[in-house]
Symmetry: C2
Subunit: 339 residues, 2 copies
DNA sequence: TTGTACGCGTTATCAC
DNA sequence: GTGATAACGCGTACAA
């Protein structure tokens, strides 16, 4: 910029004023400066600008696992919206690991991001402290943490699972296995609560043996499902608390020589784009990923522009039960593909 | 840092020397400084550091579509490796759109990333010029661009598709539909070349009518497959040049009232984690995503540390044909799920 | 071993 | 309308 100023025989202040339109500049100088810029190939330095302005126009985005199609979709939407608003996004994954999560958040804050959008793996003290002391516009997505009072957009998990459970109950299932996510997350807890609520409302006891923790990972869910399916009184249906785990559940069913939905009904949280193309067509709870991403991005953007009220805003969206054919009325037997 | 220096009754130089270990500091001062840091809650400012050092410890990562499981996996690996090395990653998607791509790359370069990992949507002049003038460590993944002579890690696309086609040919298929990606990409061209090569080697003519462009998107592929399947002489098999498009193909097959593999065989580029759980079990070409991600990340890291030779390094990995049961010998008819 | 002073590229505030 | 100059926070010669 100094070079440009010299070449155009003006001061750096004038160049800056012109580039940012922060002060009126005479057409003549404006012209000279433009020429000089073209000649030198000058581009303003965002780092120096950040140092001076105290803003990086970058927001940090941390999710549990980018490999999870749900998060993938949400990340895509957020990236898109933020890009339109001129923001870059720094992406991190915590792999459902609290220690790694702390590390990533520290990295993000260290890089001076202007805002944070995170799907926390858990709510340890370090995280709370870092977020509080960073004092950045922050929005929680998917999962809540008590002790972190920021904007958030989440699903009505409880209600969604309750609906799904009621649906399975309505099909006559009485022993419904439940593969849960980590109870360190609000989603893990809320979804399980929905399952319990449905059973209770139906006046049914909740057998603790039917509940297994899968920690949202395929592998854990595989093991859990295997236990469930080999137990003396095998459940007639299984609900998986997310999309990764249902793959594990299906693998377990296959490996044990059973078939869905003939031998065991299956339903799951999170929808798949291919769910109605491949067999069995999975019955799922579809999340409004587009809306989640858009709202989350808008929430940070609002705070960034100072257009938000003081109080944290919490958006609760509704899931949608998509009934396909991985659940059968209990006792019914349909023709099978291969005997 | 000035505050810390004051509180510890030393100079900023000493504080800096201690923090960076760039010069020996006496244990006593070291102690005083540490105390002061804890007291003030000092954290060194990465922006100022970047301005001074000319490095941001951030690399830009651009892929066509984060929603594509292939890219998702690669991104996850890259993010992981780079994080371990202390680098943050800025993520962008070009949505297979050249204009958007230029915008994103400009954004990344403007943010002064230290390196670039990109899966280009196409090779327009602007992109070439930007990359050349940015003069950054750059590695191309998945797709090559002539005119961009940088490090790269790609697949032997031609050979992989050739193998798959030979396999289908071996099953007796003579009319194999081919749903191609954009021919503006090297993958689009190379994969198609593999198909052609296989036909030619078998002494078969290549009917241009059997080749349709799907641009790597599900929707386009759906339309293309529909055309193929309703044509007077319907192909007995279809190959899809990527994972997104095969979903479109399967939807077309379903919507037209046909079944795979009974009525039409299907194979596709890119594997799915659930491919051997849901029916039909898709025959695919699996890419070594882990290796691709690791190598790509290592390539930038090497350049960043100056440990690379001058000449660009090009890594070509091999795909693996995973035969499942979405392809049948032509003419054979197996029992069907529902009559 | 420690302290001083300067430069990195911008922008904002003031004089003119 | 324009120009000089002081920050922003850090690293680092160079001198002590």
């Amino acid at each position: 910029m100094l070079d440009v100023a010299k070449a155009a025989h003006v001061s750096v202040a004038t160049v800056s004023a012109m580039i940012n339109g922060s002060a009126p500049v005479s057409p003549e100088l404006r012209n000279r400066i433009e020429q000089a810029i073209g000649l030198i190939g000058y581009k303003r330095n965002a780092i120096a600008r950040s140092l001076k302005l105290g803003t990086t126009r970058t927001v940090g985005l941390m999710v549990a696992d980018i490999t999870n199609p749900f998060f993938t979709d949400v990340v895509a939407v957020i990236q898109d919206v933020l890009h339109r608003a001129g923001y870059a996004v720094m992406l991190c994954c915590n792999d459902e690991d609290v220690a790694l999560q702390d590390e990533q958040i520290a990295l993000l804050i260290d890089r001076s991001v202007d805002g944070l959008i995170i799907a926390p793996a858990g709510d340890d003290e370090t995280l709370k402290r870092m977020i509080a002391s960073a004092n950045l516009p922050t929005v929680l997505i998917d999962r809540l943490c008590d002790g972190i009072d920021t904007d958030a957009v989440v699903l009505d998990n409880r209600r969604a699972v309750q609906d799904a459970t009621i649906y399975m109950l309505g099909l006559g299932h009485r022993r419904i296995g439940y593969i849960s996510g980590s109870l360190d997350t609000s989603t893990g807890r809320e979804r399980l609560a929905g399952y319990r609520a449905a059973l209770e409302a139906a006046g049914l006891p909740c057998e603790e043996d039917l509940i297994r923790i899968g920690n949202f990972r395929e592998k854990d869910a595989y093991t859990a499902a295997l236990q469930l399916l080999t137990s003396p009184e095998r459940p007639t249906a299984i609900f998986s608390a997310n999309n990764l785990m249902v793959i594990g559940v299906m693998k377990a069913i296959r490996d044990i020589g059973l078939h869905c939905p003939d031998d065991v009904s299956v339903a799951s949280f999170d929808d798949f784009p291919w769910a109605d193309v491949f067999q069995p067509h999975l019955t799922t709870i579809a999340q409004p990923v587009q809306a989640i991403g858009e709202q989350a991005a808008q929430l940070v953007l609002d705070r960034l522009s100072g257009a938000s009220p003081e109080a944290p805003r919490r958006l609760v969206l509704q899931g949608r039960l998509v009934i396909r054919d991985s659940c059968r009325p209990v006792g019914s037997l349909a023709p099978r593909a291969i005997a």
